[in-house]
């Protein structure tokens, strides 16, 4: 088992080690497994020679907005689909569910044309609005609906007797119970948005508007060859925060993601 673990752990280890080596040592032989003289200036270079701080901020606020937005709208819609027998409910839900079948690539040309005709290319808007309301949020709505279906009717009946109206039933009775479902929605939405690659590549042209995944591929010198140590240093800064959160909230992560089978 320990041997099997090597390919899982080694790349991350190697990434951190090599991000602290001077440029002439990253591809040296024999390979260096420990940065004996860590060169922290690589990190400084990653931030000063490139708009990394700006790109970091982009990724962070886009991921947070999309996560919060998705949580709000998917819990409202999931609740209505599960518990309010409004006319059209049974027809609308399967229709929206078909959004699950549609990979980003299939619709990105028309979406790009749409964004372009509205003059919103090279702004963060398409990266925020489309994920919250479009195909990526369908899975979240589905998960919330599945959860709200499992809430016992007796609880809502008790709420009715206490004089709660429909919104109160949602907000005071059902939503507080939905914490685990909301947590897994939050986790996979954040991860998906944090890793978004094709969309920023298509919608953004200005380096300052890039999100991290696209930004990381830009670390080359004027001749197009890789500045490995700087590139890896930048990569480390995007990996470490997520890894720390993962180790802290591990159980949520593993169970939440296992429920959803997220792609990526």
């Amino acid at each position: 088992m320990a041997v099997l673990a090597i390919p899982f752990v080694f790349p991350t280890w190697w990434m951190i080690t090599s991000s602290l080596l001077p440029e002439n040592e990253v591809l040296s032989y024999p390979p260096k497994l420990l940065p004996l003289h860590p060169q922290w200036s690589n990190y400084k270079a990653a931030f000063t020679n490139y708009p990394l701080a700006h790109q970091y901020l982009n990724s962070l606020y886009i991921a947070l907005l999309v996560t919060v937005g998705t949580m709000v709208f998917s819990s409202l819609a999931g609740y209505a689909f599960a518990r309010i027998p409004f006319p059209g409910n049974k027809f609308l839900f399967p229709l929206i569910l078909t959004g699950l079948l549609i990979p980003t690539e299939v619709t990105i040309i028309p979406l790009f044309k749409m964004v372009d005709s509205l003059g919103l290319t090279n702004t963060p808007w398409p990266l925020i609005v489309i994920p919250i309301f479009g195909a990526p949020s369908v899975l979240a709505t589905f998960i919330m609906r599945q959860f709200f279906l499992s809430v016992p009717d007796d609880l809502e009946d008790a709420g009715r007797i206490d004089g709660l109206r429909r919104f109160g039933l949602f907000y005071k009775v059902a939503l507080p119970l939905a914490r685990p479902a909301l947590a897994s929605v939050a986790i996979f939405t954040f991860l998906n948005t944090w890793n978004m690659y094709l969309e920023p590549l298509v919608y953004e042209t200005d380096k300052r508007n890039y999100t991290l995944p696209v930004a990381l591929t830009q670390y080359t010198d004027a001749y197009g060859s890789h500045l490995w140590n700087i590139q890896l240093a930048a990569s480390v800064t995007t990996v470490i925060p997520v890894l720390i959160v993962f180790i802290a909230a591990q159980r949520h992560f593993v169970e939440g993601l296992a429920q959803t089978g997220l792609k990526g």
């Binding site: 390979p31 409004f86 044309k113 709505t141 279906l149 992560f253």
Partner: protein
């Protein structure tokens, strides 16, 4: 799919009570509509319209310079049929998919079985095997790109034990395998967790009965465990297949479709035509083909699911 389980208000016999219920009902309907308004509008604007549009574009040629779109019939589709790259793209996509599914599913199963044996330190190992899932995809890919360089870490390791490694990402035979391996280690943790949950659902009594009947560990795994976890195997296979059709960033970073289109999978080919060559008509035709493939796979999945639910009950 079960229907919605809202409590339907009984219609009371007397006037005022009935009126109150009807008022409640109307309020419920309005709220219900309000609650689902956002995803409904989003579906119309960002799913249904683009889907119709991409089909429309695929039968048109667009001239980027003049911005004029002209009807082109099936020109884009016949172009795809006669494109010299199409054969390589189909081959790369299929090979990538098969390679990923076979390696990913068998490794996920192996890891799950090992973890299920409740040795000491399983939690630690589970975390280790799962950790690449949360490492951002591009950072993971860049690291492997670095490791797989001709003078990179992997070949340096091989060199210390006296093996001269290939130039992984440039070799005709090793490039596709390299991309598959990078993808497997990234996401095998997800399937592993699903298998682990399935293994924990296999009743001990069954395994003990098998042991009493004289079945060895391998025989027990094959005849008892495998059939018991077959629904999970189907599910993970489907997830992995549809995931394999959407590996774009990895290809772009590691091989850019090379060498000689050996790793030019469908979504990368699509991106090149649509956004590198700015041929939206041709790109749309490729996108429609991708959609049809996904649709067919989904239908197969539905078909299998019916049989598999039967098998479960």
């Amino acid at each position: 799919m079960t229907g919605s389980t809202g409590s339907t208000a009984p219609t009371g016999p007397t006037g005022p009570i009935r009126r109150r219920f009807q008022g409640r009902r109307r309020q419920d309907n309005i709220l219900g509509w309000l609650f689902v308004l956002a995803p409904t509008l989003g579906f119309l604007a960002f799913v249904l319209y683009p889907l119709a549009a991409v089909i429309y574009y695929s039968f048109h040629s667009s001239n980027l310079l003049s911005g004029v779109t002209t009807y082109a019939g099936t020109k884009n589709y016949s172009q795809l049929l006669h494109d010299p790259a199409t054969g390589s793209v189909a081959k790369a996509t299929a090979l990538f998919c098969v390679g990923l599914v076979v390696i990913n599913i068998s490794l996920a199963m192996l890891l799950a079985v090992l973890l299920n044996n409740k040795l000491r330190g399983t939690t630690v190992f589970r975390t280790l095997f799962f950790s690449p899932v949360v490492v951002s995809l591009v950072a993971w890919t860049i690291t492997w790109n670095f490791l797989l360089q001709n003078n990179g870490g992997i070949n340096a390791m091989l060199h210390t034990v006296g093996i001269t490694g290939p130039n992984w990402l440039r070799g005709n035979n090793s490039a596709l395998l390299s991309v598959v391996i990078v993808q497997v280690f990234k996401n095998v943790g997800l399937n592993m967790v699903l298998f682990l949950a399935a293994l924990q659902g296999v009743p001990r009594s069954l395994l003990e009965a098998g042991a009493i009947d004289g079945a060895g560990p391998w025989r027990r795994f094959r005849s008892i465990v495998l059939p018991m976890i077959s629904p999970t195997t189907l599910l993970t296979t489907i997830i992995t297949i549809s995931g394999s059709l959407q590996v774009f960033a990895q290809i772009q970073i590691l091989t850019a479709g090379g060498p000689n289109d050996r790793t030019n999978v469908l979504v990368y080919f699509f991106y090149q035509q649509a956004f590198d060559n700015h041929d939206f008509g041709y790109g749309s035709a490729i996108a429609v083909v991708l959609f049809v493939i996904i649709l067919v796979l989904t239908m197969i999945q539905w078909h299998l699911r019916k049989r598999w639910v039967f098998h479960e009950s």
